[in-house]
Every structure is written in structure tokens, then in C-alpha cells.
């Protein structure tokens, strides 16, 4: 057991050290949601009327509405990016090295996931800090209450990326993942518009959004930021995390031979 914990600490620390050396990544991860928050939101504000829905108790500005969605966006992009970087040959090498460690694959993959999720969460807090400087504030305890929600959502999205990385053969497919996974997941969710707004234009779209695990991750974060628990979102996110994680372990299981396709 001690061995397993030593290894986990090292894997998390490695992610942190790598992150410190990649400041561009940090800036990029911060700029993306800030552009949404400060530019897009300003334009959309006029177009979108928001009614009072839980967890909000008063009318809120559009900027306030999309903050949880943008937290989710950071987790989504980072989760995909850190896992898909495995598709690079160079990174695949370090993955091979990791998998030669005398520990179970599931544990090694989980440790890796935890490491990248912790880094993502730091970025989310940096984003919330900038938002706060622009006067988009949340309840004080919300910042703390959001932590477990962010952790779970980050694990879910990282696990999804990890599962995808085991099935994707080449880097070129990253564009495919952007188009067919990241964008649909983000836009077909409650990140930018509430679900009832979706339902006004199309029931089908609403149903798709309601089934999207990213919607539930965002709602989990949204409620947590207001120190509330959204039970359904919690169940959905937990289930999705378990399923994605199982897929990742399956994908990296040598017996299944998914890796053989990469030769």
C-alpha cells in the first residue's frame, strides 16, 4: 500500500512540475474562458433573458450564469488535452514507462488522472479569481464547496479523454475529437444556456442536452458554487466517471489488445 501511495504522489507531482514548465498552457487555458466571459457574454447578455431558476435566488446577469459552464470548459479542454497528449509518440513513450511500474494499471491510470485534474482545478480557481476581479462574484463558501464538484467533474472528463486516447491511433484524429467530442459536449449542454431555453427552440436538443454528462458536471458545479447539492447531477456525474474510467482501464488493458492497433 505504501508503494502505491509513493507512486501516486510522484505521478501527481510530475504533472504539477510539467505544468509549471508549460506556462503557455496555463495562459491558453485561462484566456479561452475569459474571452467567453468578457467578450461573448457581453454580446449575449442583450439577446438572452434569464429567469430565476435554482440555484439562483435573484435575477442574474448572463456573465454570472456562464461562470460554472466556463469552469466546466476549463476541465473539459484540459481533460482532453492532457489525455490526448498521450497520442503523441513522445508522450506515449512516457505512458509505456508508466505502465511498466509494478502496480495495477487501474491505479496508475487513476493516479495520472488525479494529477491532471488537480492541475485543472488550479486553473479553474485562477479563472474564478480573474472573474472576481471583474466583479463577477459568488458566495464566499461557494468557492470552497465547489472543490469536490470540480474534482469529480475533472475526473469524469479526464477519464473520458484517457478512454479516447486509448482508442485513437494518431494525432490527426485530435481534430476529429475536437469536432465530434469537445464542441458537441460543450455546446449541447447547459454551459451557455439553461436547458429550458433549449427546450423553447427544440425538444430534441433539450433531450440531448439533458443526457449529456457534461451538462450534469456543469450543473453539479453550478449548485456547488451556491453551496447546494444537485442530487441528480451528482448521480449522473459519478456514474459517467465510473463508466469512462472503466473504459480507460479496458482500453489500456494489454489483454484487450487495443494498444496493438498502434503497433
Amino acid at each position: 500500500m505504501k508503494h502505491a501511495l509513493i507512486a501516486m504522489r510522484a505521478i501527481v507531482l510530475r504533472e504539477a512540475l510539467r505544468f509549471v514548465h508549460q506556462r503557455e498552457r496555463f495562459v491558453a487555458a485561462l484566456v479561452r474562458p475569459l474571452v467567453w466571459l468578457l467578450v461573448f457574454a457581453a454580446g449575449f447578455r442583450a439577446a438572452l433573458g434569464l429567469s430565476i431558476t435554482p440555484p439562483y435566488q435573484t435575477y442574474i446577469t448572463y456573465e454570472t450564469y456562464i461562470v460554472p459552464g466556463l469552469c466546466g470548459m476549463i476541465l473539459l479542454f484540459n481533460g482532453m488535452q492532457s489525455s490526448l497528449s498521450l497520442v503523441y509518440d513522445r508522450e506515449m513513450g512516457s505512458m509505456r514507462l508508466l505502465l511498466t511500474a509494478p502496480l495495477s494499471r487501474a491505479w496508475l491510470l487513476f493516479s495520472k488522472l488525479l494529477g491532471s485534474t488537480i492541475i485543472s482545478i488550479l486553473q479553474v480557481y485562477a479563472f474564478l479569481l480573474v472573474a472576481w476581479l471583474f466583479d463577477i462574484t459568488l458566495p464566499g463558501w461557494g468557492y470552497l464547496a465547489a472543490l469536490p464538484a470540480l474534482l469529480l467533474a475533472g475526473l469524469m472528463l479526464g477519464a473520458l479523454g484517457l478512454a479516447l486516447s486509448s482508442f485513437i491511433k494518431q494525432l490527426e484524429n485530435f481534430a476529429g475529437v475536437m469536432n465530434f467530442v469537445i464542441f458537441p459536449m460543450f455546446f449541447l449542454s447547459s454551459a451557455l444556456y439553461p436547458l429550458w431555453k433549449m427546450a423553447e427552440s427544440s425538444e430534441l436538443l433539450h433531450d440531448i442536452c439533458a443526457a449529456n454528462p457534461f451538462t450534469h458536471a456543469v450543473e453539479l458545479i453550478r449548485f456547488a458554487l451556491y453551496v447546494e447539492v444537485n442530487g441528480m447531477a451528482l448521480v449522473w456525474t459519478t456514474l459517467a466517471t465510473a463508466v469512462f474510467m472503466a473504459l480507460a482501464v479496458w482500453g489500456y488493458d494489454p489483454a484487450r489488445g487495443m494498444m496493438t492497433r498502434k503497433g
Binding site: R96, A101, M259
Partner: protein
Amino acid sequence: MSLLVSDLSFSYGSKTALDGVSFSVGRGQFAALLGPNGAGKSTLFSLLTRLFVTQGGAISIAGHDLKAAPLAAMADLGVVFQQTTLDLDLTVRQNLRYFAALHGISGRDADNRIDTALDRLGMAERAGEKARGLNGGHRRRTEIARALLHDPKVLLLDEPTVGLDAPTRAGLTRHIHDLCTETGVTVLWATHLTDEVLDTDQVILLHRGKVLADGQCGNLRNKRPLPDYFAQMTGAPA
């Protein structure tokens, strides 16, 4: 036997990569796995490092069956991959500490082992340098030092000299040979470069997924230059 491979077969779909491969390497022996490109060396390494699981046959590392006791087998295995697997932004010591921790070694024990391993490979004064600043030869040495941290009984090296200049290649090859003699570690060294093999080494000649020859290099080549023997056996220029 430190490394035992028996009747190993593997195919990618309908394409057979390994067909009934069997060989064994004794303790402290340097075995060169020789074969032209596409002979099945990479597949064999993927099986030995558990990236793929064997479809037929068995592998035993230091007495541990890879299928029945994978973790015990991996604990006794050191690997140097063909592609570099260092974190270029981290220092040599940080890279080694990370790997030591994967094997459950931390703190002062790890630092002592790192110092010993780096010292043995003449890399001691570079411990604080970032891997990015190292030349190809030094990166390889770092990876070899890393692979030795947990005192493996078997060391696998997959074409470790690819892309290195001749003196560096010669130096590394000598280092590993010395290591076999001094520490008793068993080495399996995959290469297609015949000048890296000594007459006292074991040669396992792999061609089109099968073992063409297995024996002491001096006996196999029988006074012919090794490249000639290699070309004659495989029909490929060495």
C-alpha cells in the same frame, strides 16, 4: 534462467509477427537480439514489457511468469525504450526520482540509488541539469541509469544506440557489457547493428518472426565477419 521465452506467438490480425519464438538467457549474460527491421523485435519487446499480452506461449522474468505474477515480474525488469521517455523539462534527478517512486522507492534511499546509478554511468555531475540540455548519448545514459535504480535482474534495451554517433555507441555498448560482468544483471539488447556484439555474447537471430539461430556469437559466425553471417542468414545486408 533469468529470462525465459517459450513458444511465443503473436499476430496483428492476420499478420503474424512472432511465430513460436523460444530462447533463454542466463544470469549475467549479454544477449543480442539481432534482426533486420520488421523481424519482430519491437513486438517481442511490447510483449516483454506487458504492453501487449501474449497470445500464445509464455514469458518468465527472473522466475516469475509474466501472466501469473505480472507485478513480481515487472519489479525485476528494467527497460530502456527505443524512443526517449525522459521528461525534457525536468532535471535528470527529477526524472530518476519519478521512476524510483513508481517502484516504491523514495526519500534518502532513492537519492542514494540515484547517486550510485548516475555515478556508474559517468553522469553524476549532470544530476541537476534539465534533460532537454543533454545530448543524445547522455540522455540514453540517463535512461539506462534510471532502468537500473530498482536493481532489476533483467535489463531490456530496445535499439538503445539509434541516432547516436559511433564513439558514443561504442561507449554505451561497453558500459552495458561491463554492467553484466560487474552486477550479474541479464541483458537483452535489441539491435540491427552487428558491431555492437562481442564474440562472447549470446546472439539470438530473429527473422520474420522466427528464431533463425541462437548461440554464442563466436561459434555462430565461425570466423566469418558477423555482418556476412547476418546477411547470409537473413538475406539482408547488416
